[in-house]
C-alpha cells in the first residue's frame, strides 16, 4: 500500500503532471468555495493547493506566480464571500508564527518550553494597554468605567507597537532564560510551565492596586490600525463589488486587511527562521540540542546562545500578540491558558520538530481541525440528534445521544491523541526536518 502511494507520487511528480494537478486543484477548489461558501470539503480542496505547490516539482517562477495568485487574488475574493475563511487563514498564520517561534526554542535549540504562550500574552497586552482606554482607567474599578474615557494613543501607533511587542517579548524571553539556564529537559519544562502561568495570573490579578489589565474581564475595545485612505480603498471596492456580489463593508475589508498583515508577518517569520537556521547561530543551536558538552567544548558560548534562542523564539510570539489584540479588539487572560501552549506544542510535534515547513503545516492542520472539522462534526451530530434517525443493528436512536458528546469541546482530547500517536508512530513529525544538502564540489572534479 505504502509503495503504491510512493509510486503514484513519483509518477505524478514527472513531466507536466505537477502543473496540471496544482491548477486542477486550484480551479476545482476555487469554484467549489465560490459556489458553496460553507462547504468544508471545498475549502480543504483549496487548501490542498498550496501543499501540492510545495511538494511537487514545478518551475520556481511558476510556483511563485501560482502562490501569489492564490494569496493576493483568489483567497481575499473568496474570503469576502465567506468571511470565516479569512478568519481561518488569519488564525493559521498566527499559529504558524507561534509554531515557528516555538520551533526555534524546542526544535532547534532543544529547550523544552511549556509556557510559550506567555510571550504571546506580553505582546497582546502591550498593545491592549496602550491601544485602549485602559491608561485613563488606571484608578477605576474593573467594569465601572467612567464615561468620557479617551484612547491614550492614536491608532497609527499600532505599527510602532508591532515592533515594540517583538522587542518586549524578546526581553521577556531573556528574563525567563536567565534563571533557567542550568536546567535541562523535564526541569526546564516545569519552570517554563510555571512561568507561563505566572504571566496569565498576573494578567488576571493586575487590576489592583492599579487597574492595569482590567482583571478577568479583559481589555476592550482595543484600537485597530486605520485602513488605507479612500483613494486606494475606493477603486478596490468598485473592483470587488461585481465579483463578490455586494458592496464590501468596512468589517469585511478589515478581515482582508488583517489577513494580509498576518501573511506579511508570517512571511517575515519564515524568512527569519530559515535564515537563522542556516547560519552560525542556527548551527550553534542545533549543536546545543545534540550535545551540550560537546557544543561548549567546540567554543559555543552556551549562555549567550540559549538566551538568543529564547529571545528569538519569544519575539515571534510578541509580534503576533500585538496583531491578535488589534484583530480581536479584546484580550483577556483566558486566551493565554496553558492549553494554548500545549496547542502550539502539538502543532510543532505534528509537523516535525525542527522542520520549518513541517511546523507551518502542523499549525494549519491543527487550526483547521480545531475550528472547522470538529465544529462541523458537532453541527452534524446535533443535526442527527434532531432527526429521527436510528443507528442500525444496535437500534440506538440518535436523539437519545447525550448533549455532552460535543466534538468541539474535545479539543484537549484531540491534542492528547495527536501527541501520543505522533510520539509512537512518527516521532520526527509529518514533514521531518532535513539538513541542507550542500553542493558536492568534489563530485564535479
Amino acid at each position: 500500500m505504502k509503495t503504491f502511494f510512493t509510486e503514484l507520487f513519483k509518477k505524478a511528480n514527472t513531466g507536466f503532471w505537477p502543473i496540471v494537478i496544482v491548477l486542477g486543484i486550484l480551479i476545482v477548489g476555487s469554484i467549489g468555495v465560490y459556489q458553496s461558501p460553507r462547504s468544508l470539503s471545498a475549502f480543504l480542496t483549496l487548501m490542498l493547493c498550496p501543499m501540492m505547490l510545495y511538494f511537487l516539482k514545478i518551475n520556481m517562477k511558476v510556483k511563485i506566480f501560482i502562490g501569489l495568485l492564490l494569496i493576493i487574488v483568489i483567497l481575499p475574493v473568496l474570503g469576502i464571500r465567506n468571511i470565516f475563511y479569512l478568519e481561518v487563514i488569519f488564525q493559521m498564520a498566527v499559529f504558524a508564527a507561534l509554531a515557528l517561534g516555538l520551533n526555534i526554542v524546542i526544535g532547534m535549540a532543544g529547550l523544552l518550553d511549556l509556557g510559550y504562550v506567555a510571550f504571546y500574552a506580553v505582546g497582546a497586552y502591550a498593545w491592549a494597554i496602550f491601544g485602549s482606554k485602559q491608561l485613563s482607567l488606571l484608578n477605576s474599578v474593573p467594569g465601572a468605567a467612567p464615561a468620557g474615557a479617551e484612547f491614550s494613543l492614536a491608532p497609527t501607533y499600532f505599527w510602532l507597537f508591532l515592533f515594540l511587542g517583538v522587542g518586549l517579548a524578546a526581553i521577556t524571553g531573556i528574563l525567563l532564560g536567565l534563571p533557567v539556564l542550568r536546567l535541562r529537559g523535564d526541569y526546564l519544562a516545569i519552570v517554563t510551565l510555571g512561568f507561563g502561568e505566572v504571566i496569565r495570573v498576573l494578567a488576571l490579578n493586575l487590576d489592583k492596586p492599579i487597574n492595569l489589565t482590567n482583571g478577568p474581564q479583559g481589555i476592550t475595545p482595543i484600537q485597530r490600525p486605520p485602513l488605507p485612505p479612500e483613494f486606494i480603498m475606493g477603486p478596490i471596492r468598485n473592483l470587488l463589488t461585481p465579483i463578490v456580489g455586494h458592496v464590501p463593508t468596512e468589517a469585511e475589508f478589515y478581515n482582508v486587511f488583517f489577513y494580509f498583515l498576518a501573511l506579511i508577518i508570517i512571511m517575515i517569520a519564515i524568512l527569519v527562521a530559515t535564515r537563522l537556521e542556516d547560519s552560525r547561530i542556527g548551527r550553534a543551536w542545533t549543536a546545543i540540542r545534540e550535545d551540550e558538552t560537546a557544543a561548549i567544548a567546540m567554543g559555543i558560548p552556551l549562555v549567550k546562545m540559549k538566551l538568543a534562542a529564547f529571545a528569538a523564539g519569544a519575539s515571534f510570539a510578541g509580534g503576533m500578540g500585538v496583531l491578535y489584540a488589534a484583530n480581536r479588539t479584546f484580550v483577556s487572560p483566558e486566551t493565554f491558558s496553558f492549553l494554548q501552549s500545549i496547542g502550539v506544542l502539538t502543532m510543532v510535534i505534528l509537523g516535525g520538530l525542527g522542520s520549518i515547513p513541517g511546523v507551518i503545516f502542523g499549525a494549519s492542520a491543527v487550526v483547521i481541525l480545531n475550528i472547522q472539522v470538529l465544529q462541523n462534526f458537532s453541527l452534524y451530530l446535533s443535526a442527527l440528534r434532531q432527526s429521527d434517525a436510528v443507528i442500525p443493528i444496535i437500534n440506538f436512536e440518535w436523539k437519545n445521544l447525550s448533549n455532552q458528546l460535543d466534538p468541539a469541546k474535545y479539543q484537549k482530547l484531540v491534542f492528547g491523541i495527536i501527541l501520543v500517536v505522533m510520539m509512537i508512530f512518527r516521532p520526527s513529525g509529518l514533514i521531518p526536518a532535513e539538513r541542507r544538502k550542500r553542493e558536492l564540489v568534489e563530485d564535479k572534479e
Binding site: L276, R283, T286, A287, T293, D443
Partner: protein, 259 residues
C-alpha cells in the same frame, strides 16, 4: 617556556580525589601522552584542563595565561581543542555542519549579517565551507560531506571529531583515547594522521591512550597516572622499564613474578 604548564592541580569529587597534585607540562610542537589504568583520572584531568571541571587547587597556564575559572568555550577560543573518549558528534547534523560548528569562533557574522544575508555573510560562509571540506579530506574522508554524522562508520566518526577539533584552529589538540575501538589497520592510519597534524599544521598534541602500541609508537614524552597521581614521566623507553608503571598496569605480584 612550555605551551601548557599545570602546577599541583587537584580535582575532588566529594571525598574522592580524582586528580591529585598533578604537575605537568607540554612543550610546543611535541606529541605527548598521558597513560594510566582505568579510573586513573586521565579524563578528569582533561576535563579540568578544558574548563568542563574547575579544579579546587593548583594553576593551569596555557601560553602563559591562567585557564582557571574560564568556561570551556573560552578555553577553546584560546586555542585548546579536544575530542572525546566516547564520540560526541552532533549526530543529526551533516559532516560538513559538524566541522562548521567547530569553526564557531572563527566566524564573525553578526545576527544582522545573518538576517539580511549580507555580502560578508555569503563570503564567510563560502570560505568556511571550503575550509571545512578541506579539513574533511585532510582527515581522510571523501564525499561524505552531506551524510548525517551518525550514519558514518565508527572510524569515520572518529575522523570527523578530529576534523571538528581542528576546525577551531587549535595550537594544542587534546585527544581522549582517539584509537579506542579501532582495528590495527585503522590504528596505524590514525597514528599517521596525528603525525601529519603535528608536522604539517604545527599543532601540539596531547593524548590520553590505553593502547600501549599507539602510545609507544607515537609519543615523544609520556606521563603515567594512577589513582589520580602522576607516578612516572619520561621517554617511551624509560617508561617501558619503569617498575612503578609495570606495577600499576599488571599489579604488584605479576610484576614481581615477572622478575
Amino acid at each position: 617556556m612550555a605551551l601548557l604548564q599545570t602546577t599541583n592541580v587537584v580535582k575532588r569529587f566529594g571525598g574522592l580525589v580524582a586528580v591529585n597534585k598533578i604537575t605537568f607540562s607540554v612543550d610546543e610542537g611535541r606529541i605527548v601522552s598521558i597513560i594510566g589504568p582505568n579510573g586513573a583520572g586521565k579524563t578528569t584531568f582533561f576535563n579540568s584542563l578544558t574548563g568542563i571541571y574547575r579544579p579546587e587547587e593548583g594553576e593551569i597556564l596555557f601560553k602563559g595565561n591562567s585557564l582557571i575559572g574560564l568556561r570551556p568555550d573560552q578555553v577553546s577560543a584560546r586555542g585548546m581543542s579536544r575530542t572525546f573518549q566516547n564520540i560526541r558528534l552532533f549526530g543529526s547534523m551533516t559532516v560538513i555542519e559538524n566541522i562548521l560548528v567547530g569553526m564557531h569562533n572563527q566566524l564573525h557574522q553578526s545576527a544582522i549579517d545573518t538576517l539580511f544575508r549580507s555580502k560578508k555573510f555569503h563570503e564567510e560562509e563560502k570560505e568556511a565551507e571550503a575550509k571545512a571540506r578541506a579539513l574533511m579530506e585532510y582527515v581522510g574522508l571523501k564525499n561524505v560531506g552531506n551524510e548525517l554524522a551518525r550514519n558514518l562508520p565508527y572510524g569515520g566518526q572518529r575522523r570527523i571529531e578530529i576534523a571538528r577539533a581542528l576546525a577551531a584552529n587549535p595550537t594544542l589538540l587534546l585527544l581522549d583515547e582517539p584509537t579506542a575501538g579501532m582495528n590495527p589497520n585503522e590504528t596505524a592510519d590514525a597514528i599517521k594522521l596525528f603525525r601529519r597534524i603535528r608536522d604539517e599544521k604545527g599543532v601540539t598534541i596531547l593524548l590520553i591512550e590505553h593502547d600501549m602500541r599507539v602510545v609507544m609508537g607515537i609519543s615523544e614524552h609520556i606521563s603515567v597516572m594512577d589513582y589520580g597521581e602522576k607516578i612516572a614521566e619520561g621517554s617511551p623507553a624509560e617508561i617501558r622499564k619503569n617498575q612503578r608503571v609495570i606495577e600499576a598496569y599488571l599489579g604488584r605480584e605479576a610484576a614481581s613474578a615477572k622478575d
